[in-house]
């Protein structure tokens, strides 16, 4: 984590451009510029800035936006709602599509169900999320009045409006992720179907559904869970772009905006928080992995 923090700090500082000049305009008074730099701490040597920043981080202080003066954490908290909502719903949609169709596809290999699902998954992995968003706006948003194509309604204004405001972006984010997961689920299940223990289960006289879901499912999910963690980045990348498409003020828009304005603390804070959430998500995935794979827990096995 320290590594991430350090990389983020120096990477962000390497961005060319002087925020003081940006704030005051190109023809600002040099004295005012110096004063502002002093105020922002930009005149100190880089390593001093680094350690100051680090010390504040440890106390939970991510600094203030150069531009608005608001605390970084506060600005992030304001816009985190829509981003989290979209990402979470997107993942739910992806899993709801991917797991059943992946299983269906593997069981009905080379039959019509397989061809239909793999084709849809193929489109899923071949379209950027923002493009799916645009198509959804054109096809559904324009024709279905009850689903808005712009903006976000917080959940405390009612679950239904909230849900309607994020269903399209969530689908746009979830579809590519779902396509990836579905393909993994399929090929993982295909391998499991050939395992000896599946034959054993059938030789015990279990029904084919029990063989599939009691003996097969958990084994098939093991590699899928790992890869699902790796591909969380797809969800993240999707959310950033999709927020722009649907005009939703989320973390993605905040990040893009702060880069354009060279708002260092805000960039640093945002990147850090996203990385942190990402690391956290991967820890959750690891936990899930040990939960469904007993071979890990005891360090034995192959």
């Amino acid at each position: 984590m320290l590594f991430v923090v350090t990389v983020v700090f120096f990477a962000v500082r390497a961005v060319p451009g002087d925020p003081a000049r940006l704030m005051l305009g190109g023809d600002a008074d040099p004295a005012a510029l110096t004063a502002l730099r002093q105020e922002l701490g930009l005149n100190q040597p880089l390593y001093v800035q680094y350690f100051q920043w680090l010390r504040r981080l440890l106390t939970g202080n991510f600094g203030e936006s150069i531009r608005t003066g608001e605390p970084v954490l506060g600005s992030l908290a304001q816009v985190a709602g829509p981003t989290i909502s979209i990402a979470a719903l997107g993942m739910v949609i992806a899993l709801m599509i991917a797991v059943p169709t992946g299983i269906l596809s593997s069981v009905k290999r080379y039959e019509i169900e397989d061809y239909v699902s793999t084709t849809i998954a193929f489109f899923g992995i071949s379209m950027p999320a923002f493009w799916i968003g645009i198509v959804l706006i054109l096809v559904i948003g324009v024709n279905v009045d009850s689903i808005p194509t712009f903006g976000y309604t917080p959940i405390d204004e009612g679950v239904s409006p909230w849900f309607r405001s994020i269903i399209l972006p969530a689908f746009a984010v979830g579809f590519p992720y779902g396509g990836i997961l579905m393909r993994m689920m399929r090929s993982s299940m295909l391998e499991v179907l050939n395992e000896d223990y599946m034959r054993t289960a059938r030789a015990k006289g279990l029904s084919s559904n029990l063989v599939l879901f009691k003996h097969g499912l958990q084994n098939a999910l093991i590699p899928v869970v790992t890869l699902a963690g790796i591909f969380l980045a797809v969800v993240l990348g999707g959310v950033v772009a999709v927020e722009i498409v649907f005009g939703i003020r989320g973390i993605g828009r905040l990040l893009i905006g702060s880069i354009n304005r060279r708002d260092f603390p805000l960039i640093q804070g945002t990147v850090l928080i996203i990385s942190f959430v990402f690391v956290l998500a991967n820890i959750v995935v690891d936990l899930l992995y040990t939960m469904i794979n007993p071979r890990i827990k005891y360090g034995g096995g192959e």
Partner: protein, 298 residues
């Protein structure tokens, strides 16, 4: 059949010719593979010969803005808000897409494969150190890497190439290392060592050619993903310079006119989709031909 090409026989650019034969076999058998090959070929032709094939200068504001596509008109795919011919811009856009896609993955592949070869071949603390660093990258979402790198180095083709490709180093490093580790155990490497080939010779003569199949497959899949990444970056305004015609940027600019001129957004979007689809089909055909597993339980 394949035994004819075992061992040292028949290699083209270090790739065993039986792999090429297997691929041709797959394409002959599989309709999806055929579609993939056709799409990829058309796309590459459009990209490479854009200057010859494009009817107009992509930057010239020659026409009335926001003309709708019509086959009969001078601008069959319409014009953008500045009156530039969309067809020409799209053809030049293919160049950028292909260039960035290939370039980014090549960047990731060269560094990643080298890291993987070294880590897998030497093992020990070198392996630990390299793979730990790669693991850290894994905890870093690619879009952030790309956004940060573009923010650092500014916009421009090479910066986007590096920004996008950076995220793929770990993929290649991991695959290469895994393959090297499994091949290392095989006896012909021991045999090569026992006849006194040096480390480097063993790596390049024996190990590398045998890791080629999974790497080619991964390469293809990542080219598709790199193109999506480039499109996303361009769409966010963080890609190649805004005036450059890339598919992602065209799509992003068209979004403002989506109600008056749907084609500016839709056509590049469809093109991205078809091309990426084609490359993915191509990659799947390669995967089938080379018999590379998609899911690795490790």
């Amino acid at each position: 059949m394949s035994s004819r090409f075992d061992g040292d026989g028949g290699r083209v650019f270090g790739i065993r010719t039986d792999l090429i034969e297997q691929f041709i076999g797959t394409v002959n058998r599989d309709l999806k593979a055929k579609v993939g090959v056709v799409i990829v070929t058309l796309f590459v032709i459009a990209a490479v010969f854009a200057p010859e094939l494009a009817p107009y200068d992509p930057m010239a504001q020659d026409f009335a803005p926001l003309q709708a596509p019509a086959l009969s008109s001078e601008t069959p795919l319409g014009t953008d808000s500045f009156g530039r011919d969309l067809l020409s811009r799209l053809m030049y856009g293919a160049r950028i897409s292909l260039g960035v896609g290939l370039g980014a993955v090549l960047f990731g592949a060269i560094i990643g494969v080298l890291l993987g070869l070294v880590a897998g071949f030497y093992g020990g603390w070198i392996d630990d150190l390299l793979m730990r660093s790669v693991d850290v990258m894994w905890a870093f979402p690619w879009l952030l890497i790309a956004i940060m790198l573009v923010a650092i180095f500014g916009q421009g083709v090479w910066n986007v190439v590096i920004a996008v490709g950076f995220a793929y180093i770990d993929d290649f490093a991991r695959i290469t290392r895994g393959e090297v580790l499994s091949i290392r155990e095989e006896e012909y490497i021991l045999a090569a060592e026992s006849v006194g080939l040096g480390d480097l010779e063993v790596v390049f003569e024996e190990v590398f050619p045998n890791t080629v199949a999974p790497i080619i497959v991964q390469f293809t899949v990542l080219v598709a993903r790199a193109m999506l990444a480039e499109a996303t970056l361009s769409f966010l305004g963080l890609g190649v310079k805004p005036s450059t015609p890339t598919w992602g940027a065209l799509l992003g600019q068209g979004r403002d006119f989506i109600t008056q001129a749907w084609w500016i957004s839709i056509i590049p979007g469809v093109l991205i989709m078809i091309t990426v689809l084609g490359i993915n089909l191509f990659g799947d055909a390669l995967r089938d031909a080379f018999d590379v597993r998609e899911v690795d339980s490790e």
